[in-house]
Amino acid sequence: MNIFFAFLLKYRNFLVNLTTVCAFIALPYWVFNGKLFIGGDDTRLIYSYPWEYFKALSFFSWVNLSSVGTFSPNQFSFPFALTWTILFSIFKSRVVIDYLSFSLPLIMGFIYLQKLLKEILTDASYGEMYTSSLLYVLSPIMITNQLMVFLMSAWLIGLAPFITWAFVKFVKTYNFVYIFISMLVSIFLSLGFFGLPWVFGIIIPLCVGFSVAIFFYPKKFIFFYIKKTIIFFGLLISSQLFWLFPFAATIFIKGGNSFADLFKVANTFRATVLQTSTGNITYPLLNLPNRQLTIDYTWPLRDIFLQYYDKVFIFGTVFIIIIFLGIRYIQMYRNEGQRKIYYLFFISFLVSLFLFTVNIGPLKDVFLWLGNLPGFFMFRNAYDKFAPGYMFLYTIIFGLSLNAIRGKNPKLYIKLLIVSLGVIFIFLIPIKQIVNGPAWTTKTTQKVITFPQEYFDFLLQVKNITDPTGNILNMPLNIGGYAIIKDATTNNVFAGTSPTKFFTGINDFSGYLSFSPTESDKMWNYINSKDYGALREFYYEYNVNAIMVTKNIPSEMKHSYLFFNGSLLKNQDDALISEITDKKILVSTKDNYELYSVKKPNIAFHMKQGYFQKISPIKYRVYMHVSSQEKLTFLESFHFGWNLFLEKYHEPLCNNSPIRISEGVKECKPADSLFDIDELSYGFGHAIFSKSHAQTSTYKNTWIIDLDFIKKNYNTSYYRQNSDGSIDILLTVYFFPQVYFFIGCLVSVVMLLISVSITLLYSKKRNK
């Protein structure tokens, strides 16, 4: 017995941490009741359907996800999607991998904030480390801002303390192994870094705060730190180049008059700031989110405030007391080094508090003025973008303050520690209602579901009978690009960007955001004025070849914000469906989903005569019969990145077995390929007819293929000469910016190898 207690005593800190980590793993099972936590703008399907996500979104720079195609690379998600695919092959449970992804940032944040505090404070006690890290991951601010929506930025909960810890360790030891570990973890969790505004929300206050260091430390010391900072973050950023490269290309390579450029966002910085920055610093200091905002916008959180937080907010005073006592005691009872660190973090904290709150008298105008800086526009909803950064600094200050109090008054420290832990748990009580709350503007419809088998069976059949290069119109249309899929047994719904592409590989259009604003307005005008002829022509232009109708959307969702309180459904009636469809071609087993063909189908390529085959979303092969100057039209959003490459001619493989024939063009069965080694050659290859590349209609790509040019500049291996003087050629239509992804990958791998080499070199030197 004594040995058992001795063991408990010896490893008590480890056991407490282990228990807490187990609680974090169990948390989603309790919160979500075994259903998948999916939906929203980024669907969160990467956590439960990683392979489907990888194929549809992670690998390619050209994306159609319930919208017309855009140059919006998502390669930041590809290491995670691959890792999670492997994990799924081990666990064979979507719920397990989905829930693990929910717990992982909490576990990382919890562990590495403790490690970070241990590095900052030489005499940190376990009590202050544990309480601070628990406060960090379980703060109502973090829960409402990150866990409730669980965007990619939620990974910053774990990444922020981890990277800071690795950086501090590197600065202290100059051991490159910390850079190497950081690079590996950052590659795996690169999707967290894609939340750039949140990343800057952490970096900006830290940079401002730590710039005060020039008054504290000698010049030599500062340059020494700067050098190490550049090495650490330089290598870290280089590990992210595989997605940063193509991402940067989206900024520098514009698509001309492309669809992508039609999404010109009006400058709403000022209006958004004025509308949303209505709170004050008191709630954040009490460790609570902005109450005023929840009231103004009737968020589901509003009810939780009215019923719960309004009654218990006063307990948060303990956090304010600890911070103020910390300021008082740090000056009196801590050494110079600790004081300086404290002040640097405190200035960062004050900056973060201002940026998170904004509404601080004249400082609000300063924030509005900052909106003039290029890129600052991304912080228009500051209450969101600066929240993780604020909580990170808040908890560090909290930990440092507790440490200072312990130095002055250990008894008071114990009391405050216990009360703090109590308040953390008091504030945590409504976590289930917050994270698993009802969809916005509904009262009972929750957002966690299990996809019904009926839906999967139906989509499988849709995949088999629908044109793979056409588009599906997903009705009823809503204000976003969302699909509403009802749970098999409850009234819960998946309400998020339509997952049709993930499960069928075929793109769909499902709402206002599926088209450019001008085109969407046009479509809704046709619907509201019942101009069905124009509407049919509109869908023909956008290559809509099938219409899918969902019939079991819960009534509460039909009256939600997604359908403008139901008003959007007014004209989406049976008359509309019968006018734009030809015949019903598929019905799901329980009659909840229907598929219709359209009266006038279209095809992805228009030319006089030829074949085409989809190889991947960024690559098509076109076998074209050219008799003089011929027009080639590609029904995909115009972008200068789409290029033609002339290949050595060979007979089309699907010569006798096309899957579709329309308007003289035959479509071959798609190859469904991810990557071909010859794609690398396009980086050095010479695109042809680029000068004739132009936009027709509102979005399509067109080239003029010139017979004489080909004959003059290419030998006969590039074309087949016909007896009438015409030629047959093989063209590859390739989205060139995909190459930047390959270059980025190469650089990232090289930099990773360099860091490994340096690590080994240094460890050898150390051993000597």
Binding site: V212, F215, T317, Y343, W369
Partner: protein, 349 residues
């Protein structure tokens, strides 16, 4: 004589106290006048337009459902990006939706069209409509319209008929300011613009108060004003009173700040910035400890927490604002102390 010696002689205490610091305060005054000003900011030019430039005006001046106001004006500069309309909209009106649109007069299509809740673009009675700036707007005729979508007897906006019924703003950002000469040109034109706008000139005066206060503080106020006053009070009341000028000033400023925080519901930038500067001046002059600022920050935070309970009518945002300022001042004081105590490490190897 060496330049260093001349410089040292020139830079004596009197010069710093009587010239440099007041000059610095006046520069701050000008900066604040421009920065914390609804009309004139650092990066914008503002020109007032008279009500005569309204070509359609609601008969009684009220914007209610389907009523609209239409204005026509000639742009004075390039980079037209904001039109601000003066109203008597107050905080109680918050359910009115309005549509704003603007275009070049000859154009058949609106350049920009958007709908807003009036309250969201209201800044103290000014309805501020921003739109993507028009880079080549100078000397062109523009038309704008504001239509009320759901105004009624309760939710109505009263338009103002005066010489500055609406203002047009021209946004000059960093990339436009590539040359130092352009900066000088802009600054001189901004001063001229500020001087030509009487309302703004009047409101700018408030920012000179810290300068006046400072001059009184270092001047013979004690000898010629406070001492005779004290004598007069003693004679009049027949009692003997002694007080420390430092404590009195400290209490007066803190009382004013408390009154501003608790009594004035709205934020008046002039008042806030003046009181903020006055507190800083006192700290510098009388070496007030950081604990005072810290204590007041805590007190204000507790008051703000208390006022958060619904149905209180006081402005807890403003009290929290002062809590933040006091906290920031306390931390800066601590940092300065740290630097002073260890001045040998300041940028020395």
């Amino acid at each position: 004589m060496k330049v260093k010696t001349i410089f040292k002689r020139l830079l004596n205490k009197t010069l710093i106290e009587w010239v440099l610091i007041p000059l610095f305060l006046l520069i701050l005054c000008y900066f604040f006048s421009l920065f914390f000003n609804r009309n004139h900011t650092l990066s914008t030019f503002v020109y007032p337009h008279s009500y005569k430039e309204y070509t359609h005006f609601p008969s009684d001046g009220f914007l209610i459902k389907n009523e609209y106001v239409r204005g026509e004006f000639q742009a004075k500069e390039d980079n037209l990006g904001i039109i601000a309309v003066k109203t008597t909209l107050n905080d109680d009106i918050n359910k009115q939706y309005i549509e704003f649109r603007v275009k070049e007069k000859q154009s058949s299509e609106w350049y920009y069209d958007n709908t807003y809740p009036a309250q969201s673009i209201n800044e103290g009675g000014l309805l501020i409509f921003g739109f993507p700036k028009i880079s080549n707007s100078r000397y062109k005729q523009y038309v704008f319209e504001i239509v009320s979508l759901n105004g009624n007897g309760k939710n109505k906006i009263k338009l103002v008929s005066r010489y500055d019924s609406f203002t047009t703003r021209y946004i000059y950002l960093g990339k436009n300011l590539s040359s130092k000469l352009i900066y000088l040109d802009l600054i001189s034109r901004k001063i001229a613009a500020l001087l030509s706008y009487p309302d703004e000139l009047f409101w700018s005066v408030i920012f000179t108060f810290p300068t006046i206060f400072y001059l009184l503080l270092i001047g013979p106020i004690g000898t010629y004003i406070i001492v005779p006053c004290r004598k007069w009070i003693v004679r009049a009341l027949g009692i003997k009173i002694t007080f420390d000028r430092k404590i009195v000033l400290k209490l007066v400023i803190l009382l004013l700040i408390t009154l501003d925080g608790v009594l004035l519901k709205d934020v008046y930038y002039g008042v806030t910035i003046d009181l903020f500067q006055l507190w800083l001046l006192l700290i510098v002059k009388y070496k007030i400890r950081h604990t005072v600022s810290l204590l007041f920050s805590f007190i204000f935070l507790m008051i703000s927490e208390f006022f958060m309970i619904p149905s209180w009518i006081l402005n807890e945002n403003k009290i929290a604002m002062w809590a933040y300022f006091f906290l920031a001042i306390a931390i800066v004081q601590l940092i300065i102390n740290e630097i002073k105590n260890k001045s040998h490490v300041f940028f020395k190897d």
